[in-house]
């Protein structure tokens, strides 16, 4: 069964979001709300908490990210997310795939524009 167009777009976006999260975490650990906020600073990567938390939980189950409880200056402890070793490899692999794909598409689209 071919997925319909909406689900194809959302699959595509999920992949991009995942890469975005891994890239953010590569610079340092973040807690849930920070991830949502940081992504929102990047146009095209804005996503609701309802999208990001399930994604984080999937990444954790897959062993791509680890979590650590840290005290917060106000309120209850926060769960911080870090890239695991597997996460670093995943990020490197995804980055390569992304660059290849985007280079291919860029040149394809440029040919179209030249005509």
């Amino acid at each position: 069964m071919a997925p319909d167009n909406d689900s194809r777009v959302s699959q595509f976006r999920k992949g991009a979001l995942e890469l975005g999260i891994l890239a953010l975490l590569d610079r340092g650990e973040l807690y849930g709300v920070e991830i949502v906020d940081r992504l929102a600073e990047h146009s095209g990567l804005e996503a609701s908490a309802g999208t990001i938390y399930p994604l984080l939980s999937r990444l954790k189950k897959a062993g791509v990210v680890d979590t650590t409880w840290r005290e917060s200056p106000v309120g209850p402890p926060r769960k911080y997310y870090q890239l695991s070793e597997a996460g670093r490899r995943e990020l490197a692999g995804m980055t390569r795939s992304w660059r290849d794909l985007s280079a291919t598409l860029d040149s394809l689209l440029a040919e179209g524009a030249d005509r």
Binding site: V33, T68, R70, P73, V74
Partner: protein, 304 residues
């Protein structure tokens, strides 16, 4: 099911579980299943292949979920006990308790009302409710929190639906001799009874609503090695029909003389919401605190 020993029988059982799917989807899924079974059977033998895939009803449910048609399936999949009760579809199969349990506490999903409650039409995602009330963050509780709930707390949780369902049985037993042959069976919007049934039928159905799901589910979740998460969520899922059963039993007994003691449906529904919420939130708080203690971090007070 252990009675199934051949590939054909297994495929046939899964086919039954897929009733109502588009024929092309069903045939594709079954063809794939059959070739998978033959492949495994070649290496490990037919019995092992059939056993490896588990209950055909659950396998069928998995296929439906993968095809995105799960919400339609629960009332009609598989040969296990299910049907209609008081006009509402019900489905108390073991596997469905787990599936519904997962929807009862899903803090990552912001939707509070999820489709289907325990085969009774709707589900409340108490996790989303706790997040909305700013009691916890969406990623605070996970499997680890369930695992750290003290054993004694889980014991209490497992007793809750049982005690409620048995209270309904005791109430009916005590009142039985005094009850008229016909008792209220349906109430109008005003709260006055507008339909009656024999007391055997009315109380039989009401008590079954509380007791049957427990009798079906407990032998499985009391087994050693059942994850804490399954136990807690099952206890909560079972408390819902038990509360409904007890509430309507009390209402029926109160109105048995034909009078109306006022519409209590709202109270019953409220109890059916508040109790499960507390049954989830309080134990998970214990679990969360245990996680924090292990990490040597503490709540600094106030809210973020």
């Amino acid at each position: 099911m252990s009675s199934i020993t051949t590939i054909d029988a297994y495929v046939a059982a899964v086919r039954t579980g897929l009733t109502g799917l588009r024929a092309s989807d069903r045939d594709e899924a079954l063809a794939e299943l059959e070739s998978l079974l033959h492949e495994v059977a070649e290496r490990a033998g037919t019995a092992a292949a059939v056993a490896a895939l588990g209950d055909p009803g659950e396998y069928a449910a998995g296929i439906r979920e993968a095809l995105g048609t799960a919400p339609l399936s629960e009332a009609e999949a598989g040969p296990q006990p299910q049907g209609r009760l008081l006009g509402m579809p019900y489905d108390f199969r073991g596997a469905s308790v787990d599936r519904i349990g997962n929807r009862l506490w899903n803090t990552e999903d912001p939707r509070i009302f999820m489709p289907r409650l325990f085969g009774l039409g709707w589900t409340v995602n108490f996790g989303a409710l706790a997040v909305k009330l700013h009691l916890i963050r969406p990623d605070d509780t996970g499997d680890e929190s369930f695992e750290r709930i003290p054993a004694a707390t889980i014991g209490v949780l497992l007793a809750v639906p049982l005690v409620i369902a048995l209270a309904a049985v005791v109430l009916v037993a005590l009142a039985w001799a005094e009850l008229p042959a016909e008792v209220p069976f349906h109430w109008g919007v005003s709260g006055a009874p507008d339909d009656w049934a024999s007391k055997q039928l009315a109380f039989g159905l009401l008590l079954a609503l509380g007791v049957v799901p427990i009798a079906i589910t407990y032998p499985r979740i009391l087994r050693r090695g059942t994850p804490a998460r399954s136990r807690v969520l099952s206890a909560v899922a079972l408390a819902l029909p038990a509360v409904l059963s007890l509430g309507v039993v009390m209402m029926t007994i109160a109105d048995a003389d034909g009078g109306s003691s006022g519409n209590k449906v709202l109270f019953i529904l409220l109890a059916a919401l508040v109790l499960p919420f507390l049954m989830l939130y309080i134990p998970l708080r214990f679990g969360l605190r245990a996680e924090w203690r292990e990490s040597r971090v503490y709540d600094q007070g106030g809210r973020t």
